[in-house]
C-alpha cells in the first residue's frame, strides 16, 4: 500500500518549468531514493511534500490526506519529519533539549501554554530523549551545545530529532552532502539501523554509493519529470538513466 501518492504535479517558477507532470508512489516501509542531475527538480518536489511550496496543479496525498494548503507544522503533526541538506538544529541549546523539543511537539501538539512544570521534572520526555541520543551514539555529549558538534554529529542529532517523533514518513534531503567518506559510511550505517524501525523514507541523494547501499526503490528525475523507476539494480543498467543522469559514465 502506498503511503505517499503524487499525481500530475506541476510547478513553474517565473515561466521555468521545474516539475512537469510528476507521478510518484511511495510504498509503506520502503526506502525510496529520488535521484537526478542538478536542477532536475528533486528539492522542489520535496518542498511540495512539506508545505514549503505549493504545486501549481496536481495532488499530493499522504496516508489518505491531502498535503496541499497545509503549513509545515501541520504536515509534521500528520507524521512527516524532514532532514535538511544543511542540518537544521537548535545550535544554542543542549543536545538533550534539541531532542526533547520534537518529543514535546509529538506529545503536546502544535501549541501548548505549558509554563508551570519544569522541563527537567518531566521524566517521560527526558528518558525518551536520552534513549534516542544513545541510539545515535551521542549520549555522552547530551549537555553540550548543539552548535559545537562536528558536521557528522549534527546530522546524527538532526536524525535523532526526527526519529524521536516516530514519524510515519522521513524525508532525507541529501543526508550525506558535504561529508567525509567516513562520516558518510557512519550515516549509512545509522540509516540502515533505523531502517529496522519500519519508517518509510524518501532519500534525495547525489552520492550513488549511498543510494545503492540504502534504497530498495529508485525514481530518476530529469528535467522535472520521472523518466525511470525500479530497483537500484534495474536503474544501474538502464540506458535512459545513464544518458540523462550519468552522461554515460560508469557507476
Amino acid at each position: 500500500m502506498s503511503i505517499l501518492t503524487v499525481q500530475g504535479v506541476n510547478k513553474s517558477f517565473a515561466g521555468l518549468k521545474a516539475l512537469n507532470q510528476v507521478n510518484l508512489k511511495v510504498e509503506e516501509g520502503a526506502v525510496h531514493a529520488i535521484i537526478g542531475p542538478n536542477g532536475a527538480g528533486k528539492s522542489t518536489l520535496l518542498n511540495c511534500f512539506v508545505g514549503r511550496l505549493e504545486p501549481d496543479t496536481g495532488t499530493v496525498t499522504f496516508n489518505g490526506q491531502s498535503l496541499l494548503n497545509r503549513r509545515p507544522h501541520e504536515i509534521n503533526q500528520l507524521g512527516v519529519a524532514r532532514v535538511f541538506q544543511t542540518p537544521e538544529i537548535f545550535t544554542d541549546l543542549s543536545l538533550l533539549d534539541n531532542v526533547m523539543i520534537p518529543a514535546f511537539a509529538k506529545r503536546d501538539g502544535a501549541y501548548t501554554f505549558n509554563w508551570v512544570p519544569r522541563v527537567d521534572g518531566d521524566a517521560e520526555m527526558t528518558d525518551k530523549a536520552q534513549h534516542m541520543l544513545e541510539d545515535v551514539g551521542l549520549a555522552d555529549k547530551q549537555r553540550m551545545l548543539a552548535g559545537s558538534l562536528s558536521r557528522g554529529d549534527k546530522r546524527r542529532l538532526e536524525l535523532a530529532m526526527c526519529l524521536v517523533q516516530d514519524p510515519k514518513l522521513l524525508l532525507l534531503d541529501e543526508p550525506t552532502a558535504g561529508m567525509s567518506r567516513a562520516d558518510t559510511n557512519n550515516t549509512i550505517d545509522l540509516l540502515k539501523r533505523i531502517g529496522e524501525r519500519k519508517i518509510t523514507k524518501i532519500v534525495i541523494e547525489h552520492d550513488m554509493h549511498v543510494v545503492f547501499s540504502l534504497a530498495n526503490k529508485v525514481s530518476v528525475l530529469a528535467q522535472g519529470t520521472v523518466i525511470a523507476e525500479g530497483t537500484p539494480d534495474e536503474m544501474r543498467g538502464n540506458p535512459k538513466v545513464q544518458e540523462a543522469y550519468l552522461g554515460g559514465a560508469h557507476i
Binding site: V50, R71, P72, H73, N76, Q77, A81, R82, F84, E88, I89, F90, T91, D92, L93, S94, D97, M100, I101, P102, F104, A105, K106, D108, G109, A110, Y111, T112, F113, N114, W115, V116, P117, R118, V119, D120, G121, D122, R143, M144, L145, G147, S148, M161, Q165
Partner: protein, 387 residues
C-alpha cells in the same frame, strides 16, 4: 568544549530566596551606596519588572521590540483612570493597567509578529510612536495631552464614594486598603510585585513553554518543521511582556498618580533595551541588574553640576582645574547619557552577554584557574584586570 549550564530545582529555590531577601532588605544595603531612599528604590523595582518582562520577549524569544514604552504608558493611563473613576485603591489600578496593556499587546503583537528581525522592530517602533503622538493629539480627552493625566477633586471615584463619605476637600492619596502608597510602604508594594514577577519569569524560563521560546530564538525554521506553530508562541511571549510593561506603568502611577505621554516616547523604549542587554539578555537576574545599574547611575551622575565639579578639581593648578571640570562636565549632569553610551559600547564589545557574563567569567577564572578558563573564554579577550 561548550556545555550548557544546568540549574537544579534546589539551585533555583536558593536563587529565588536570595533574590527576595535582597529586594526586601534593599533599604538597608542600598543606603551604603547612597540609594537607600524610597523614590529611587521604587524606580529600581518598577524598571526591574519592566526589564524582566521585556527579557521574556527579547532574551528568550529573540524578538527585539522597540515599542514597549507604549505598554508602559497605557498601564499608567489605565491606572490613573481607575483612581479617577473607581477607587484610589492600588489593586484595581494594577489590574486595569495589566489588562489594557495586555489587550493592546495582543493587537500590536498580532500585527507586528507577521514579520521578524529588523522589520518586527520597526513595526513595534511605529506603533509606539503612533501611540505617543495620539496621546498628544486626538486622544487628549483620555490622556489630557501635554499636561498629563492627574487626579482631581471632582473625580467620580464611584466605589470610594459609595462606601465612604467624601472626607473634606483634600485630594485622597493612592493606598492599599488604607496603607498609603508613598515612601517606604510604596516601595514595599512594588518590591512584593517585583518578587512575584521574578518568580513567574523563573517558572516560564524553566518550563516547556520557555524551552520552546528559546528554540524559536535559536531556529524558527526548525521549529516549524518540528510541528510547532511558532506564531502563537511568539504572540504569547509578546502579550506576557506587554502585561509586565503595563504592570510597571501602573506601579508608576500608584507611587505617583500622574500619567504623561513622554513615558511612551521611543527613548523610553530604547532604555529598557539597554537595561536588558547591559545586565545580560536571556538571563533571569541580568535584566533586573541592568535596570538597577542604569537607574542608579542616572541618579548619581545627573546630580553632578558645574559647581560640584569645580570643587572636585580644585586641587589642580589654576587653569587646568577649569579645563578638567568642563571636560568632566560633558559626562555628568545632563551629559550623563554620554557616559551611558560609552559604558554600553564597552559592554557590547567586550561582554556581549552583559554583566551576567562578566560574573560567569570571573567565577570560571577563580574556580578553574588553568587550562579550562582559556578555552571557555569564547570569542573575546579574557578579562585583563584579573591579576
Amino acid at each position: 568544549m561548550a556545555t550548557t549550564p544546568q540549574t537544579t530545582p534546589n539551585q533555583d529555590r536558593l536563587l529565588f530566596v536570595l533574590f527576595a531577601a535582597a529586594v526586601l532588605t534593599a533599604p538597608l544595603w542600598a543606603s551604603v551606596i547612597g540609594a537607600g531612599y524610597p523614590d529611587l528604590l521604587q524606580k529600581f523595582a518598577i524598571f526591574g519588572i519592566l526589564a524582566i518582562g521585556f527579557n521574556i520577549l527579547f532574551g528568550l524569544t529573540g524578538y527585539l521590540s522597540f515599542g514597549h514604552a507604549a505598554f508602559l504608558g497605557i498601564g499608567s493611563y489605565a491606572a490613573v483612570w481607575s483612581f479617577k473613576l473607581f477607587t484610589v485603591n492600588a489593586l484595581p489600578a494594577v489590574f486595569f493597567g495589566m489588562v489594557f496593556a495586555g489587550l493592546f499587546a495582543l493587537v500590536i503583537g498580532y500585527i507586528s509578529l507577521r514579520r521578524t528581525g529588523i522589520y518586527f522592530s520597526i513595526l513595534t517602533l511605529a506603533f509606539a510612536q503612533m501611540s505617543y503622538n495620539l496621546a498628544y493629539s486626538v486622544l487628549t480627552p483620555i490622556t489630557n495631552g501635554e499636561t498629563g493625566l492627574t487626579m482631581n477633586q471632582d473625580d467620580p471615584r464611584f466605589i470610594d464614594n459609595l462606601f465612604f463619605a467624601p472626607e473634606g476637600n483634600a485630594l485622597p492619596s493612592t493606598n492599599l486598603f488604607g496603607i498609603e502608597m508613598t515612601g517606604f510602604s510604596g516601595f514595599y508594594f512594588c518590591a512584593v510585585v517585583l518578587i512575584i514577577a521574578f518568580y513567574i519569569a523563573m517558572r516560564i524560563s524553566r518550563s516547556p513553554f520557555g524551552m520552546m521560546l528559546r528554540a524559536i530564538k535559536s531556529n524558527q525554521n526548525r521549529m516549524n518543521y518540528t510541528g510547532f506553530n511558532t506564531r502563537p508562541y511568539a504572540l504569547t511571549a509578546f502579550v506576557i511582556s506587554g502585561v509586565y510593561a503595563g504592570l510597571a506603568g501602573s506601579l508608576m502611577a500608584v507611587t505617583d498618580p500622574l500619567a504623561g505621554a513622554e513615558r511612551m516616547q521611543w527613548t523610553a523604549s530604547g532604555e529598557v533595551v539597554l537595561m536588558t542587554i547591559l545586565g545580560g539578555a536571556g538571563t533571569l537576574l541580568g535584566p533586573v541588574l541592568g535596570a538597577g545599574i542604569i537607574k542608579y547611575f542616572e541618579n548619581i551622575f545627573s546630580a553632578y553640576n558645574a559647581q560640584v565639579l569645580e570643587r572636585i578639581f580644585d586641587f589642580l593648578p589654576d587653569g587646568i582645574d577649569h579645563a578638567a571640570a568642563s571636560v568632566a562636565g560633558l559626562f555628568v549632569g545632563e551629559g550623563w547619557h554620554l557616559t551611558l553610551g560609552l559604558v554600553f559600547m564597552l559592554i557590547v564589545i567586550f561582554l556581549p552577554g552583559g554583566v551576567m557574563e562578566g560574573f560567569t567569567r570571573l567565577r570560571a577564572k577563580f574556580s578553574k584557574p588553568t587550562v579550562e578558563s582559556s578555552s571557555s573564554g569564547s570569542t573575546t579577550s579574557p578579562a585583563k584586570d584579573s591579576a
